[in-house]
Amino acid sequence: MNPAARAQLLVVGAIAAAILLVGAYLAAGGSSYEPAKVQDPCKQRPWRNPESLQEIAQQFSLSALDGAACELGVSREKLARALATPESRERFTKRYGIGDAQLARAVRAGLVRAVDDAEEAGALNPLIAGPLRTTLRSIPLNRAIELINDAEALLDQAQGFLGPAQDLLEQFLP
């Protein structure tokens, strides 16, 4: 092969190799290899087959976080981290200029939304949902945060209350 042909082959080979590599990495998803984007907390998320009490509690907590985050205009993830410890909560309220009263209102609104979602998903009996909403609308902030972090106890008590009440109702219903 003459020197001119070798020179041409070298340049063409380099172009082909570059296109092949970039094309292969693009085809393998190189342009979208990045962290997952967080969802808008104001958008409704469907509950995923809640079967056990623990799973219902998890979905309840997530709905409550979504509701509170939507009220505050932050992501559910940011709020979850903020509510993890008293220190992180303080940093969060300071950074976003949120007072305790505003945070309490948002967390309560979140819990009420969680009751709505649970009722809609068929995970919470409508008989208990109403009184639960009323109770949650005036619950103290620290207790409300505890409920978001662990809703199992609340739901357990609710079901415990509902059991005899439902038995009673069924006796009177045709």
Binding site: E77, A80, A84, E152
Partner: protein
């Protein structure tokens, strides 16, 4: 002249390799220096930038000095200064001291490396052979630098990089002393001074652009491996060895093609293509960095030697034009580092936020029991506080793993999903910088296309 040529040729090649290795030898030690001297990413970049900046500024004046004072004396004194400053670098306990010592090291290095180009023709018999040997010694040093630096950092410490250079510099200076003594006795140089021709503008401009692109590639890849993917310096050294090893292949390919312009163009395309691949990594896996690294390695061997030969061909005196190529290369390294550093430090901070949100979403959506989630959230929150400003490591937050088999599996799966989000963030943070470096490499095709045809 006194002394046998073979040890002197070896000493001269060693001097060039040693000095040019220094422009990249600390790359793998930067994360260690960053932690030990408690500085910022932007601050630690100056350990690299200062050396290259001073080399760029000092190369041409040093070449003139070598022609006036005598290349033997200049090279010997340059190597002694380089060794002394190396000691000061090793002793530095503050970033400012280290950067100052690196500047002095660069002055000594510039004097040595340009003076050597003036000594080589008489030692090897022809200017063309001298230019070839000088280019190969420099490229070898620059290519091997990161791997050697990584090994020394891992096995001993970052200070060892500078301490090891001291005896090597003195060993390289020893055979040159005979030439220096001869110059002192005869004073032959003033009679040999010739008028300096204009430097080859397009070749040197292309050299600067390609060097910017290559320096950014090396710097970013090392930071990605060590800071992003958490490899040890020795692990990263092994991984980035793919580039110098491929450069050997590139050198063999280059020998088959006489056209310097074709080699330069092909090399620039390969470097840019490799960087494009690194910008589009589809997964955080070392294996996927290999094809791009091989392309960059072959490309750099082709383009650097072709452009250096073009810049030196038919031009006299060699030391001055060699000084211009050194100046162009190191200016390019500085531009490359300064161009990408603010971009990737900003992107790392942004990706850190996205990674934390994505990681939290993974924890929230997992089926791990709520109390375990809360415990994990607290531990991860404290890890984030400890590693402020970096993409965090979260492995320790999962220890100890739950004993219940079902919960154990859920937590392990959660840890993997979380790690995947962090890997995605770390890798993605470097993508725009790699893409910019690729673009700079491609733009080098313009001066390469404009360069006057030089067939060697």
């Amino acid at each position: 002249m006194n002394g046998t040529p073979r040890p002197r040729v070896a000493a001269l090649a060693l001097a060039v390799g040693l000095v040019l290795a220094d422009s990249s030898i600390v790359v793998l030690a930067l994360p260690e220096i960053y932690r030990e001297l408690d500085t910022s990413v932007a601050g630690v970049t100056w350990v690299l930038v200062s050396f290259n900046l001073v080399m760029a500024l000092a190369a041409v004046p040093a070449a003139h000095l070598a022609r006036r004072v005598g290349p033997g004396r200049t090279a010997a004194v340059g190597l002694a200064v380089f060794a002394g400053a190396g000691l000061a670098c090793a002793a530095a306990d503050q970033l400012g001291t280290l950067v100052a010592a690196r500047c002095v090291q660069a002055i000594g290095g510039a004097a040595a490396v340009t003076a050597v180009l003036e000594l080589l023709p008489a030692t090897v018999g022809s200017e063309r052979r001298a230019a070839g040997l000088w280019a190969v010694a420099g490229a070898t040093g620059a290519a091997l630098g990161p791997a050697i630096g990584g090994l020394l950092t891992e096995l001993v410490s970052w200070q060892a990089i500078f301490l090891v250079q001291v005896p090597i510099a003195l060993a390289a200076a020893a055979p040159i002393l005979a030439v220096a003594r001869h110059e002192a006795a005869t004073g032959v140089l003033s009679a040999e001074l010739r008028r300096t021709g204009r430097p080859h503008v397009s070749a040197n401009l292309a050299l600067a652009m390609v060097s910017a692109s290559i320096a950014a590639a090396l710097f970013l890849l090392v930071l990605l491996l060590i800071e992003g993917w958490r490899l040890s310096p020795i692990g990263a050294a092994i991984v980035v060895s793919a580039m110098p090893l491929s450069a050997l292949l590139g050198e063999r390919i280059g020998r088959q093609v006489p056209s310097a312009r074709a080699r330069a163009a092909a090399g620039a395309i390969l470097v840019s293509g490799g960087l494009g691949g690194l910008a589009l990594l589809p997964k955080a896996t070392v294996a996927l960095t290999m094809p791009p690294q091989i392309m960059v390695g072959i490309g750099l061997a082709l383009v650097l030697s072709a452009l250096t030969e073009t810049a030196l061909a038919g031009r006299a005196p060699q030391a001055i034009h060699g000084g211009w190529t050194i100046s162009a290369r190191h200016a390019g390294v500085v531009i490359g580092l300064l161009a990408v550093t603010p971009i990737f430090t900003h992107d790392i901070a942004e990706q850190r936020k996205d990674a934390i949100d994505a990681g939290t979403a993974v924890i929230l959506d997992s089926r791990v029991p709520p109390l375990t989630k809360i415990d994990l959230a607290r531990k991860i929150e404290s890890r984030l506080e400890e590693e402020r400003g970096k993409v965090p490591t979260i492995g320790s937050a999962f220890e100890p793993l739950p004993e219940d088999p079902e919960e154990h599996d859920q937590v392990v799966q959660l840890r993997e999903e979380l790690q995947d989000q962090l890997d995605r963030a770390a890798t993605h943070a470097f993508s725009p910088s790699f893409a910019i470096a690729a673009l700079i490499g491609l733009l080098a095709l313009l001066p390469i296309g404009l360069a006057r045809r030089v067939e060697l």
